[in-house]
Amino acid sequence: MRVSRRTIIMGAIGAASGVILGLGWRWAYPPLAAGGGVGLGYVLLEWASCGLCPHNRPPEAPPPDPKPAANPATVKTRMEPADPSDVDALVERMLAHGRYALLLRPQIAVTLSDEQLDRAVTALQEGMALVPDGEVVLGRIDEALDDGQLEEEEIAACEGRVIRVEHFFLDRYPVTNRQFYDFVAGGGYQQIAMWDERIWPAVLDFVDQTGQPGPRFWRDGCYPNGLEDHPVVGVSWYEAVAYARWVGKRLLTDAEWVKAGSWPVCLSPSTRVQRKYPWGDSMERSRVNLWGSGPGGTVPVHEFADGVSVGGVYQLIGNVWEWTRGDFEPVDPFHRDLVLEIPMKSVRGGAFDTYFDNQATCQFQSGETAIARKRNVGFRCAVGACDLMLARPTDDFAVPAELESASIEEVQV
């Protein structure tokens, strides 16, 4: 373990104070003992204040970076002051904060250097998976999916809906505490433009355990120590939407979520293959963090790699429920209407405390009120492939004239 110079100095002061306190005590000389006590108290206070927040601690040996390389945001970059006139620095900051999707908007991308564009594309490829366009069936079709195939008659019998989805990029991992910290530290809760107008009065109430803006289970604006790579939880649907806007993405629609997990293939006009789980048609609890198969809480987003989807997306099933863009459809498994006291948003995928296998399938939809900030609900983001510019346009494929080029300062909020 590397020991910082500050630690050595504080240690020396502490040791000296201890000796003085001891001598004062032994010689029954109160001024000496008091001096030692004050010194010792100072050192203890310093250490205590250092230990309250993980970000205040002096850096120790660099930990292995198990998380996706897309957002290696470090403490250093978080604390750097922004200079709006320094465009290169802004690009660096945005890349460090995982806001590459903003940089890849055609209006911005044309203003980037080749090297910056390459880095943004690389970050996109590392952090997100491409889900191809196509049709997906939504509905209570899990029983029909037992054989992995769906006939038209089965879809009709289950009142399933066939929905077409355009190709899009999807976060490989749920948004982590570390990533969300960038949003919080970057003043995301103070930037009113990020939030739905109707929720403005409630934003002040989106605070952590100590009253600071941030997810519900954080303290002093920081996530709990050691949970940097765990999915962020205790965030409402509105906080998830605001974060997604901040990074230039959006929440997924329900159809997109199901398509990314079940990876449907149309074999013929009347027959489709659609998976019940991202890895196949039967539950294998060793692949997911559900009740009884995990530690009873969240795990880092890169774990349970065996449960990865065909497209390379982790933890679609298990660990945390994920907010989607859509509303919860209040219908029970027998297609009977339900009554909701408050309208709910859709959550999908199951969490570490989900008990039943049939409630952790790609198709299963549950609901939660949009301002709920639960311990087992997180989110991931998506962005339409057509909304991004992944390569510099050649003369043959010039940027459409209607897409005005925007300066990076305009999107950097």
Binding site: W291, P333, L340
Partner: protein
């Protein structure tokens, strides 16, 4: 030839009829082939198991008002304990002991709550199980029936209406008292009054001071806390705030008691029932705080053993 075989068999049956078998709950004398006790309607299988296997299980009560969630709690508790490989484990004894678990889990898996437990004691589900605990060599035998809340209420209001309830509670070594946290918070004191009546009833059962309820462990479990975050956070503070009378009663009557918070559903909606009432529908199942009260109770019961 045939007659020669039948006569000794019938003689044996007559002998068996002549030897009465006491009900394990109320100790009333029953015939050997009775399915339920003729006095209290408890299943005679409990007595047969005790006789044949020389097992004398202890009894733990799960009581509370109607609709508080006793069936869900017990069924879920059984399933969770029987699926775990570490910590406390549960092994059901006898096929009849699995029925409660089966019906509860089938309903929850369909995103429904199980049917209301009928008032008739012979239709209650009784659970006889063996509990294995780490650090304890001897397993513990327990009997835990799923009694109807309305029957308990009747017995509390009019003692001796249900002989089985009185006999069972007299023999219990501990109790889990369930309280609906949502009703307690939203609709006044009916939950609190019922629980206070129940505690008062327990406190006055039996006149043996040494073996009375004042020394038995009582876990007071607030249910449905997924809809009451304040209770989930600190059930004792919730009890002091929203059920101060109940809290005071517990202070006065019990030496070993503790408040817990439990929930099974992650979120709930409603469905209109045929009589235009509202039926709760769980949108997903996420059990919380189910095992903790039971483990606490076991820790207070001491070592296991056959008797």
């Amino acid at each position: 030839m045939t007659k020669g075989v039948i006569v000794p068999l019938e003689s044996a049956r007559l002998v068996e009829y002549a030897v009465p078998i006491p009900c394990y709950v109320c100790e009333g004398q029953n015939n050997f082939d009775a399915e339920y006790c003729r006095y209290c309607s408890a299943p005679m299988a409990l007595a047969h198991q005790a006789n044949s296997q020389k097992l004398f299980p202890r009894m733990v009560a799960t009581v509370g008002a109607s609709g508080v969630g006793k069936t869900v709690y017990l069924g879920m508790l059984m399933d969770m304990l029987s699926r775990r490989s570490k910590h406390v484990q549960l092994l059901a004894r006898g096929a009849f002991s699995i029925t409660l678990q089966q019906t509860t889990l089938a309903a929850l898996g369909r995103c429904e709550f199980p049917e209301k437990t009928p008032n008739e004691p012979d239709r209650w589900n009784w659970v006889h199980c063996q509990i294995r605990r780490p650090k304890h060599r001897q397993p513990m035998e327990l009997i835990m029936p799923d009694m109807a809340g309305e029957a308990v209420l009747q017995e509390v209001d009019h003692p001796n209406t249900f002989r089985v309830i009185r006999a069972f509670l007299q023999k219990c070594v501990g109790a889990m008292v369930l309280i609906d946290a949502v009703k307690l918070k939203e609709s006044g004191q009916s939950q609190e009054f019922f629980t206070m009546k129940l505690i008062s009833y327990l406190g006055e059962l039996g006149d043996d001071v040494k073996r009375g309820w004042s020394k038995k462990p009582v876990a007071l479990i607030f249910t449905k806390v997924d809809q009451c975050e304040q209770c989930a956070k600190d059930p004792t503070a919730f009890a002091q705030t929203h059920a101060s009378g109940l809290w005071q009663q517990c202070e006065e009557r019990f030496r070993q008691y503790r408040f817990f918070a439990a929930g099974v559903a992650g979120a709930c909606a409603y469905r209109r029932s045929l009589d235009n009432g509202r039926m709760h529908v769980p949108l997903r199942i996420e059990p919380h705080g189910i095992v903790e009260p039971f483990e606490w109770l076991l820790s207070k019961l001491g070592p296991g053993g056959r008797r």
